[in-house]
Amino acid sequence: MAERGPDLRSGGEPEGAVEIHERQEAVGRDLRTEEMVFNMGPQHPATHGVLRVAVRTDGEHVRALQPHVGNIHRCAEKIGESLPYYQWIPYLDRMDYLAAICNEHVGCMAIERLGGIEVPERAEYIRVIVAEVQRILSHLMAIGVYGLDLGAFTPFLHQFRERERGMDLLDHISGGRLLYHYIRIGGVKRDLSQDWLDELDAWTSEVERRMPEYNTLLLHNRVFQERTFRVGIIDRDTGVRWGVTGPGLRAAGVDWDCRRDAPYSIYDRFDFEVPYGASDIGGVLGDCFQRHWIRVREIEESLKIIRQAREQMPEGPVMGRVPKGFKPPAGEVYIRGENPRGELACYMVSAGKSDKAWRARCRGPSFSNIACITEIAEGQLIADLVAIIGSLDIVLGEVDR
């Protein structure tokens, strides 16, 4: 093939060219027009941050694409090695800034397991409650931003109404609106008051009341359905092969949720459903619509968990005994937990005799989720590419860490 489009690469490094060329050979049999290479991002409203996607298009069709990440690589793992364990927790917040509490939760669990620290019962319940509040906030944002990607501005601003209230809730207990540093090693920062719990109840019923409103605007909207049905299908094989987790994998029909199937913290005490993709909810298994549907359903399930946790919550201390100058023995730990975006895993190695980790490694779910668009977005329209990236709900802070 003599005529080939310009390279997708940034600085002349041999990247992806071979692969893209091969793919082109495969699709090149049908009529092709002149191809263009776009750089979507790093400043682009649809890339949810600073993702750069080099897209080769033929008219409106995507022929090949290559995501480039690392634009906000913030050295979280290096910092994890350089700072004492307890000082690393705020950096976990900043990895996935839309699900800060969930990140703290998994990170603290890993460190506690490493040092053999017991967490009081009440603290576990509080952790579950705030983590589920955070999950709802994150999913609300995901739903709203997905609407924004598809051109519906209003759901995005409407969800902020509930989101602001939820953020205020977490603000009251932690002092931060977005990044909290509330879950600490050995427990949580401070106890929940009765007033706060009442406010929580009001908020949960408010969210429950508002959800049908959002569903009218998006989920049951004909235009929305036409945009998302049969678009960006991640089937079971593709999803598992690429390591997609969370709603992306569940939409493919995999009935797997760490909270239920590999229960961490005290999630095995609650009764909740794990929504997973099915062909009778509309669209096809694993398409954008099903991913959106899973998020909507998960909000409802999170509300269930919050209510149960609130009822079962015992009295007691919220902070366990953490030795001063915490130095865990040599060892390793690997913990995974269900974040709103997928499975966050934390692998920590302690060399012993030190208050710093030897290696602090995190698996950001978005990192694996976004990797697979190379495969699934091929041959789709540009408008669909936006829909796909939106439906994967990535947070770049977590991709780059």
Binding site: P42, Q43, H44, P45, G49, V50, G70, N71, I72, H73, R74, C75, K78, I79, S82, L83, P90, Y91, R94, Y97, L98, M141, F156, L157, H158, F160, R161, R163, E164, M167, R177, L178, L179, L396, G397, D400
Partner: protein, 187 residues
Amino acid sequence: MPDDAQPGEVLLDPELQQSVILTKVQWVKDWGRRNALWPMAFGLACCAMEMMATAATKYDLDRFGAGVFRASPRQSDLMIVAGTLSHKMAPRLKRLWEQMPDPKYVIAMGACVIGGGPYSRYGYHVVQGVDLIVPVDVYLPGCPPRPEALIDAIRKLQFRIQERTGESLATIEAKTGRKGAGAARAS
């Protein structure tokens, strides 16, 4: 009058400078600039979420005429650098800033872009201050700053535009040939 002469008017006759019409024209121009600060839809990290929250329901940046988030740098006046700036991103940020038409303003939102913030010490890949890359008009501390703080920063910028006849730091720098705060003082 020559002491506090505006850089944009130094070429003019001092008597002409005091003419009512010219001052009024300048005032009207600034009034427009001040009340129509269109930010660029450009978020880097955590602070971008708070920037979105500022534009959204509860805080509503649009009240001040600053809610028109333009995706194209060509049509925006204000770059809110919200989030951590990495070395990989820095050249792109610079380029985006260069694509914006004059007069342009920069708000450094968050501790990270002011001086590296929590990443300043071990974050090898974090640029320790966006002012190493582009001139900054308003610094807004916080991690992340609350929406009220961002609104305050934009109000401050608006007042400043009115006071300093709409010259952004970039323009002043170009005219005085001095960098950063020195240029601000020189004006």
